[in-house]
């Protein structure tokens, strides 16, 4: 027979079953007896089966016997098998289905147990199974046409009657089970989907197709309610497939595009545009900056800043990139605010030297007087403020503040690229925009110096480049993106310095987008200062880490700048910076560079070389770095881009967390938000006194107030927050001094949290970290949690 060859497996199975029937476990009989409502028939059935088993039956004969038995069983049985019920359920009431379900289930189970029944089912159901279902069923159907015909004959007669149910079900079940025996599992899934479709359609056509589809579906599922089992199966199958990997990328890309579109559309809205720009430019930034309106970047900045100094070797590229960005921002903000406070009326005409000195002073002051967190906070605040301001006003006001800030920034910034970037941005803008001739130029210089101090090459180059090209938009975008980087980076402190390369690229990009030079500069300064602070304490690993990050994100940036056509006049500066940054990257202090800036470096004998380098670089740079930085940035465009792209995902995921981080700042908000995160947000705009932007403070406060908040509270809030931050910085400084250190470390902050009551014996720091910080910060803070039991850096906790 033709079918013999094809249906070799079925025949063989059937023969085996028949031959081994006698050896069948008594379970089937007893089980069947128990299950069936008409035990008598069942017994008879089983007896008959046995009889048939004894005799070596041909497949067809066996099939016939089985069919007959099934008919008898079905008639005797009151319960109907499920699969047919399913088919009918659609058209008929569910009651029918449910009642027969258990019986059929039992029967099915019984059948399933014995291969004989399974085979029988196959043989019986083969003709029934529609050709649509699978190849196998189709194959099998023709194999036993004779038997099938008998089945068919039976079926049509009972098709619509209740009798048909058991028959169908058994056959269906058997077929299903038999199919289960087959090896091609995936086929089933197809059937299932088809079945589901049919079910959904309420198939109407209770045809063999349904049955076949049903049969194709897992046999066990047939027993019960119509939809659930089948639905479950496909879902399960889908679950196993795990197609999640692609989503994020797509979202990010789309997101970027959307952002860019928004930017184009919004244009007018400075902050939003700025944000968008940032996002568009820096993917990493995108995730973080995008989530929150104002406060996005600052929160992670602080935590990152604080953390970066501590986390040493642990710095996945993504993290570093993010941290890098954040750090820079913080620096900028810090310096800016500090500058504003302390420097007061620095004039544009002041020379870089003055600025540098001022920076040093500020740096010292900051180091001495302020905690890292404070810096971070200031930086964050300033950044926020600066950003806002920048976006809002690009007028003289900005220019004026810029000049002052730039100067201050340049001085105070030793570490951060951020300072550079903002300064650069400002500088670039000013010359480009021509709003304030003096200030911008000075700002540029400042920026350049700043960049030198910060991450050296990158920023310097950027500054130069930016200054040359007056692409306000670009500046703004760049700046924002830069900021975004900073905020994202969180781990700026360490990274800023090290990621010279990265920074440069970032700075370059950021600069063009700078809108408010002053703000940026201040931010950059603060960031720089802040960086120097944490860097001091930070281990080299941290620096290297940040460097890598910085290099990664910035590299694409500078390229962009370059692409934009920034002149390379500043390149010299940038090169110099690059050169300078390079050494820090390599973790080799540059004595040569330091020499001229010994004063600066003396500020932080321990401090990471980067700040000193930055300062030195700044001075020396003017010529060398630009080129080098550019080159460096050029080197890893793709790589950096990928990293940047990879980074932003996390921040996006935790927008609310960032929000949570911010509110703690407000004095009124007693929520158990990590004080670090809160503090980070304090950004002092270049123009105003240091303090977070009004919208930011209000938004955070409102979020935690959970009731309506009038705007009258703002001045009070602002004052309280300033006091809070002052005290915070004071305490942190005391703690650091108590431990005979000169740098505020993470453990100082932890101790403060304990004093504040956020951390108790029952609420460890890690829990708070996980509760309130975004993923990047968390990764940095708790490297063990994400290391998969393989922690390279020294664990943060003793």
């Amino acid at each position: 027979m033709d079918s013999v060859d094809e249906d070799l497996s079925a025949r063989i199975l059937l023969q085996n079953v028949i031959q081994t029937e006698s050896s069948r476990s008594p379970i089937t009989r007893s089980a069947s007896q128990a299950q069936f409502q008409s035990p008598g028939s069942r017994v008879r059935h089983s007896i008959r089966l046995r009889r048939s088993d004894v005799v070596a039956l041909t497949p067809q004969e066996a099939l016939k016997q089985s069919i007959k038995k099934k008919l008898r069983e079905s008639t005797s049985r009151s319960s109907l098998p499920e699969p047919p019920s399913k088919r009918w359920a659609v058209s008929e009431g569910v009651g029918k289905i449910n009642t027969p379900a258990p019986a059929t289930a039992s029967l099915l189970y019984d059948d399933d147990i014995t291969p004989r029944y399974l085979l029988r089912g196959i043989l019986q159901t083969e003709p029934e199974t529609s050709l649509l279902v699978q190849d196998r069923p189709v194959r099998k159907e023709p194999e036993l046409p004779s038997t099938n015909s008998s089945l068919h004959s039976n079926r049509p007669s009972t098709g619509l009657s209740d009798l048909d149910f058991p028959d169908m079900t058994t056959t269906v079940n058997l077929s299903n089970t038999v199919k289960g025996l087959r090896r091609k599992r995936p086929c089933r899934s197809l059937n299932i989907t088809a079945f589901n479709r049919q079910l959904e359609h309420e198939g109407g056509s209770a045809t063999e197709k349904d049955l076949s589809s049903l049969s194709s579906a897992s046999p066990s599922s047939i027993t019960f309610s119509l939809k659930t089992p089948f639905v479950d199966i496909p879902n399960e199958k889908r679950r196993f497939q795990r197609k999640v990997a692609n989503r994020k990328k797509i979202c990010l890309e789309e997101f970027d595009e959307a952002l860019r579109n928004r930017q184009a559309a919004m244009g007018g809205d400075p902050e939003l545009s700025v944000r968008e720009d940032q996002q568009g430019l820096s993917e990493t930034v995108r995730s973080e900056g995008f989530t929150l309106g104002l406060s996005d970047l600052t929160a992670p900045d602080i935590t990152h800043d604080i953390i970066t100094s501590k986390t040493e070797l642990y710095a996945p590229p993504d993290d570093t990139a993010t941290t890098f960005t954040i750090a820079t921002q913080d620096k900028d903000t810090i310096t800016g605010t500090q500058i504003q406070r302390e420097m007061g009326g620095m004039k544009d005409e002041e020379e870089k030297d003055m600025e540098e000195v001022g920076e040093q002073k500020e740096y010292k002051m900051e180091i001495d007087n302020k905690d890292r967190e404070d810096l971070a906070v200031d930086a964050g605040q300033r950044e926020a403020l600066v950003r806002q301001e920048e976006s809002k006003s690009q007028t003289e006001e900005v220019a004026d503040s810029r000049t002052g800030e730039d100067e201050e920034l340049a001085k105070s910034q030793t570490e951060g690229e951020v300072a550079e970037s903002p300064a650069e941005g400002e500088v670039a803008e000013s010359p480009a925009e021509g709003e304030v001739a003096a200030s911008p130029t000075e700002g540029e210089e400042e920026e350049m110096t700043e960049s030198q101090t910060e991450d050296v090459a990158d920023e310097g180059r950027q500054v130069v480049e930016k200054g040359l090209t007056s692409q306000s938009l670009l500046h703004n975008a760049m700046h924002i993106s830069r900021r975004a980087y900073c905020s994202e980076g969180g781990v700026k402190v360490a990274g800023v310095m090290e990621g010279g390369r990265g920074y440069k690229s970032m700075g370059a990009e950021l600069h063009p987008t700078e809108t408010g030079c002053a703000g940026r500069r201040s931010e950059g300064d603060t960031a720089g200062e802040w960086h120097s602070g944490p860097e001091v304490g930070a281990s080299e690993s941290a620096h290297t880490r940040t460097v890598t990050l910085g290099s990664a994100p910035p590299s694409p940036l500078p390229q962009e700048d370059e692409l934009e056509g920034l002149s390379r006049t500043g390149t010299s500066l940038g090169n110099e910076e690059m050169e300078n940054s390079m050494p820090p990257l390599e973790m080799t202090f540059e004595p040569e560079n330091n020499a001229p800036h010994s004063s600066i470096s003396s500020l932080h004998p321990i401090t990471t070389q980067s700040p000193a380098d930055h300062e030195e670089d700044w001075d020396d740079v003017e010529e060398r770095d630009g080129i080098q930085s550019e080159e460096l940035s050029m080197k890893t465009p793709a790589f950096v881009r990928e990293k940047r792209n990879a980074l932003p995902i996390d921040p996006l995921a935790t927008p609310t967390i960032l929000k949570d981080l911010q509110p703690s700042v407000s004095a009124g908000a007693a929520a158990a938000v990590k004080p670090k995160a809160v503090r980070g947000k304090r950004t002092g705009s270049a123009k105003k006194d240091p303090g977070l932007s009004k919208s930011y403070i209000m938004s955070v406060f409102k979020h935690f107030a959970k009731t309506k908040v009038s705007t009258d509270v703002y001045p009070v809030l602002k004052e309280i927050m300033e006091l809070y931050f002052d005290r915070l910085a004071d305490d942190l400084e005391m703690f650091a001094a108590h431990a005979k250190r000169k740098t505020i470390e993470v453990e100082d902050v932890e101790l403060l949290m304990r004093r504040q009551g956020f951390v108790t014996d029952s609420m460890p720091v890690n829990v708070l970290i996980e509760k309130y910080l975004p993923m990047e910060s968390r990764k940095l803070l708790i490297p063990v949690a994400t290391s998969g039991n393989y922690v390279i850096p020294k664990p943060r906790r003793k």
């Binding site: 431990a739 005979k740 453990e747 304990r754």
Partner: protein, 141 residues
């Protein structure tokens, strides 16, 4: 046999734990009583200075607050000592704890200076005595 002994052991253990807890409780009570008594005395003396009296509730509130604050101080001091990587609480830790309150910090500062000077004097005198002894010893043999 074994089961009964183990049961008895468990019971004994639990009793011991219970008694230990009771002991702790009783200690706390005694400490609280001591604090309350001291606070009462202090309030009395201060009241006499200002011709004012302290009601019982006030004294109780002050005593309870003092007791809890002591607990907090102890925890903070321990945290500070650990922060400085020390296993002993020192004057520095105390000063750090009290810096919030200006008056208190000043007071503690002065006190610590006095104590330091006193210690210094003691050491000087001890050295002198030791020196004299050495001289005499040297001379004698």
């Amino acid at each position: 046999m074994l089961s009964t002994t183990s049961c008895r052991a468990n019971v004994n253990f639990r009793e011991k734990m219970a008694t230990a807890m009771d002991e702790e409780e009783r200690k706390l009570q005694r400490l609280k009583a001591a604090v309350h008594y001291t606070v009462g005395r202090l309030c009395q003396s201060i009241g006499e200075d200002h011709q004012k009296e302290f009601s019982r509730q006030v004294i109780a509130a002050i005593a309870e607050t003092t007791f809890r604050q002591c607990d907090i101080f102890a925890k903070d001091l321990e945290a500070f000592a650990r922060h400085a990587k020390r296993s002993t609480v020192s004057v520095e830790d105390v000063k750090l704890t009290a810096r919030r309150s200006t008056a208190l910090s000043n007071f503690i500062q002065r006190k610590s200076e006095e104590i330091a000077s006193a210690n210094q004097e003691q050491r000087d005198t001890r050295k002198k005595i030791a020196g004299k002894r050495k001289n005499t010893e040297m001379v004698l043999p």
